[in-house]
């Protein structure tokens, strides 16, 4: 049998499906874009037509404004140039999807970003059978293994409780979209009031509009009682670290929520009191569980520890290859790079 031509391939604009003439998460303006989720490195402005999962509509519109957006429910398929396209939950953030592409009996799936553990703030990851699977690899090293969420939240609650007892606010730095809402949904809201930074409040509203249950949250201006602020859990984006916005909380304790906090070096570099190992990406076992569940023989690895994953998968008997992408910037050791780069602009220094 002749090898099937590739249904999806990497181009300088993004992942491209030649028979359907559309792109997945393109990074340069195109006519037709299928968007896996609303993180800044995947959803960009400037395309003519957008297709995304309905759960992500509110967030996508909040971030990209007025765009020509077609939304479909998970599992619902649409025809683009004779290619059957459907979106399936990726469990990463609200509205995140894997893109399933079917043409003449050949099925390919592009994962976008995904996480296999379900968390209650978005539809849980749903493995899709396919011939070829394009996987992310942000945490593609065996040192990344997440502890059960229940343990993490027990730790977070204990920290908040101790701080509240000492009359000290608890500031958690977490990406405004996804991570922040996961924290809100997971903490024990009976410990004290929850205050959110404006950047987080906007996304909370989008989540609530999509029927995701979150505890009551206050904007800082809504809290008149200063002593209440000292009992509060404060959720703010990492960019708020070291800004005057935090001054009103007085002597606070702080934490940073990210998968990178798994490493001692990264924790210390963040210079916060606590590192919370909480990620919206799959850990090493999660990546392999997901890959196996697809039944795919061919695996393409994108953003993250690409060479490591390719070599390991090859040794495990897969036909594995690297696929170029510009998602998430460079993440070859995952320290300087962030899980959601849109929230952490990397300023450039002196170009020649």
């Amino acid at each position: 049998m002749l090898a099937n031509p590739d249904l999806i391939r990497a181009t300088d604009r993004g992942l491209y499906c030649p028979p359907g003439d559309f792109y997945i998460d393109p990074w340069r303006p195109v006519d037709r874009a299928v968007i896996t989720h609303a993180h800044g490195d995947h959803a960009r402005r400037g395309h003519t037509h957008y297709l995304a999962a309905r759960d992500g509509e509110a967030v996508l519109r909040a971030r990209l404004g007025d765009i020509a957006l077609q939304c479909v429910g998970y599992g619902e398929s649409v025809d683009i140039g004779g290619v059957r396209v459907s979106l399936h939950p990726a469990g990463h953030v609200l509205g995140s999807a894997q893109v399933r592409v079917e043409h003449r009996g050949e099925v390919w799936v592009a994962s976008g970003d995904y996480k296999v553990e379900s968390d209650g703030t978005c539809a849980p990851f749903d493995p899709v059978r396919c011939h070829a699977f394009i996987t992310e690899s942000t945490f593609g090293l065996p040192i990344y293994r997440w502890r059960p969420q229940a343990e993490l939240f027990a730790e977070l609650n204990a920290w908040w409780r101790d701080n509240a007892a000492a009359g000290r606010a608890s500031v958690v730095f977490a990406y405004a979209f996804g991570k922040a809402q996961r924290i809100l949904a997971g903490v024990d809201a009976s410990i004290g009031p929850i205050v959110c930074h404006g950047a987080v409040q906007v996304l909370n509203a989008a989540y609530r509009a999509t029927d995701v249950a979150l505890p009551e949250t206050f904007a800082v201006g809504d809290v008149a009682d200063r002593t209440a602020l000292r009992q509060a859990l404060v959720v703010a984006p990492p960019s708020a670290q070291g800004t005057p916005w935090l001054r009103r909380f007085g002597d606070y304790s702080d934490a940073f929520a990210s998968g990178w906090m798994q490493l001692r070096g990264a924790r210390r570099r963040r210079a916060v009191d606590r590192g919370l190992v909480l990620s919206d990406h799959a850990d090493w076992p999660g990546l392999h569980q997901a890959i196996r569940a697809t039944g795919a023989e061919r695996v393409f690895v994108t953003h993250g520890y690409v060479p490591v994953m390719v070599r390991w998968l090859t040794e495990q008997g897969f036909d594995a290859r690297a696929m170029e992408s510009e998602y998430g910037g460079e993440q070859d050791d995952g320290a300087a790079a962030e899980e959601t780069p849109d929230a952490a602009p990397v300023s450039t220094v002196a170009a020649p």
Binding site: I143, L263, R264, R269, Y305, V308, V349, P352
Partner: protein, 538 residues
């Protein structure tokens, strides 16, 4: 073990001294005496000998983790620390054995020493199976002899004191000498103090302000005493009740690390307290600060260490004589008595910090230009009628001490190589090599790894990844395109370096993204600085 491992993590992840102190205090409050004794032992920087060779440990961990060697290596590259890499790679533990720290050490770690390799291996496997993630990290650090926590002995002292309700200076004195990690020894730390123990108490150090206005504004030069600003370790030498104590600034007791200084103390009359600077010293002049730094870092003082970096005390104040507190007396009076005392003692390791005298401020300013050649940081200015204050006195009180420092050398240089950092910075490119121009080519001349903020490091790290030419091991060559201002304290001829010069304490002063690489300095400028430095050497 769990409580101790948690303490280690808390100490490790926070940079706040208060948070560290709180974590330590909480630990000592709850720990039983046997555990606390071991915790003091480890936190004070003692560590057990390496019981398992690194290679064997690595091989065993790779086997247990069921991964190929190359993957272990990738993981290690990302983590940058063997003990931590192993802790992350081992399979989930079964039932965690939360035996106390003392039991883990005495029953499981210390006996390893006498076991044959295969028995060690079995013991390691059992230990790993019985520990959770944090516990494994601490255990791995202990068996490889690499246990180190970022807390000072001073902080441990304060925590033990706070947990036990004892004066921290008393605890510091009692922590002197060999520390035997026994419950009895720990209890003795916290016992009621008897009055004789107050002998070691230092006075608060009087601290200087940087002079940031014109020196003429200080008034007539004759109201001031000037001396060199020594580049060493500020210390108080105490002789009371027949005992000797050497305190460094920040209430750290360093008597045992400085036997030469302790010997001066033994020769002093009882009831004497000197304030001065400890310096690596030979033939009446200071040796480079780096030597003193190395010397202080040494845990054991071999005859070679003592020979290579002998220390001396350059005394500049007398705080107590015949048991009388002299601090309220005018500086000139204290100085006169100090001079007489130093003279009478004639001890080879004790000198009087000489006065630097000129007719006017301009004259002093000229003398100050000699600082580099003399290996000092500039001048100290002390009012001759002022009392010895406590700590850093308020500006404008009139009795201040001023430090009138010279500026460090500065050049603009181009980033050409980058290397991963160590320890907490292992996953970032933090160590940089800088080059200057010579005949149209860039010649490396200095390596620097300090001076940038964490945010700047992150930016430069990203820059390096985007501008890598080649990778060789942990090093990357970088497209020359980033200019930084490099400061350093000294410059010497060095045939070993391609540039022909070696600079002392290079550090990054700022990122010059306003400069193009062709605006960076040249080797000629370094040679000019070198010629100046030579000319200044007396």
């Amino acid at each position: 073990m769990r409580a101790f491992a948690q303490l280690v993590q808390r100490l490790d992840e926070t940079t706040s001294t208060n948070a560290k102190l709180a974590a330590l205090t909480a630990y000592f409050r709850d720990a039983d005496d046997a555990d606390a004794a071991w915790a003091v032992f480890f936190l004070a920087g003692h560590k057990p000998r390496q019981v398992v060779p690194t290679k064997a440990l690595r091989a065993l961990a790779t086997r247990v983790a069921v991964i190929p060697e190359w993957l272990f290596e990738e993981a290690y590259q990302a983590v940058g620390d063997l003990a931590e890499t192993i802790a992350h790679l081992l399979p989930e533990p079964g039932v965690v054995d939360d035996a106390p720290l003392a039991r883990w050490i005495e029953a499981r770690l210390l006996p390893l020493r006498d076991l044959p390799p295969d028995a060690i291996e079995r013991a390691l496997l059992r230990a790993w199976a019985d520990l959770d993630h944090r516990g494994r990290f601490v255990w791995n650090k202990l068996i490889t002899g690499g246990f180190r926590v970022g807390v000072s002995k001073l902080l441990v002292t304060r925590a033990v004191a706070a947990a036990g309700g004892v004066d921290p200076r008393l605890v510091a004195e009692r922590l002197m000498g060999d520390w035997q990690p026994t419950p009895a020894r720990y209890r003795a730390l916290l016992a009621e103090g008897d009055p004789s123990e107050r002998a070691g108490r230092p006075y608060p150090f009087f601290l200087a302000h940087p002079l940031e206005r014109s020196v003429e504004s200080l008034g007539p030069v004759t109201d001031w005493h000037a001396e060199w600003k020594w580049d060493g370790i500020r210390a108080q030498l105490i002789r009371r009740s027949g005992r000797v104590f050497v305190w460094s600034r920040g209430d750290e007791l360093v008597t045992e690390r400085l036997p030469e200084i302790a010997a001066i103390g033994a020769a002093l009359p009882d009831g004497t307290v000197l304030d001065g600077e400890v310096l690596a010293w030979r033939d009446g002049a200071p040796l480079p600060f780096a030597l003193l730094q190395q010397r202080i870092g040494r845990k054991t003082l071999t005859p070679k260490v003592l020979r290579d970096a002998p220390v001396a005390l350059v005394a500049y104040d007398l705080l107590e004589a015949d048991g009388e507190d002299l601090r309220a007396r005018p500086f000139a009076q204290r100085r006169e008595r100090l001079a007489a005392l130093v003279d009478a003692l004639a001890h080879p390791a004790l000198t009087l910090s000489p006065a630097v005298v000129a007719d006017d401020w301009a004259g002093l300013a000229r003398l100050r230009e000699e600082s580099r050649g003399r290996r000092v940081e500039g001048l100290m200015l002390k009012r001759i009628d002022a009392a010895y204050g406590a700590g850093r006195v308020k500006l404008g009180s009139g009795g201040e001490w001023w430090k009138w420092k010279i500026d460090p050398y500065r050049v603009d240089a181009v980033l050409v190589y980058a290397q991963r950092g160590h320890g907490r910075r292992a996953s970032l490119y933090t160590d940089y090599t800088f080059a200057v121009w010579s005949d149209g080519a860039l010649v490396p001349f200095a390596k620097a790894y300090s001076g940038l903020t964490d945010a700047e490091i992150a930016t430069v790290d990203a820059f390096i990844r985007q501008h890598t030419i080649e990778k060789f091991g942990p090093v990357r060559s970088v497209t020359p395109s980033l200019v930084m201002e490099i400061g350093f304290e000294g410059i010497q001829r060095s045939p070993r370096h391609r540039s022909g010069v070696a600079v002392r304490f290079p550090r990054m002063l700022r990122i010059r993204d306003d400069k193009r690489i062709d605006e960076a300095d040249s080797l000629d400028r370094l040679h000019a600085l070198l010629a100046d430095a030579d000319a200044q050497r007396p």
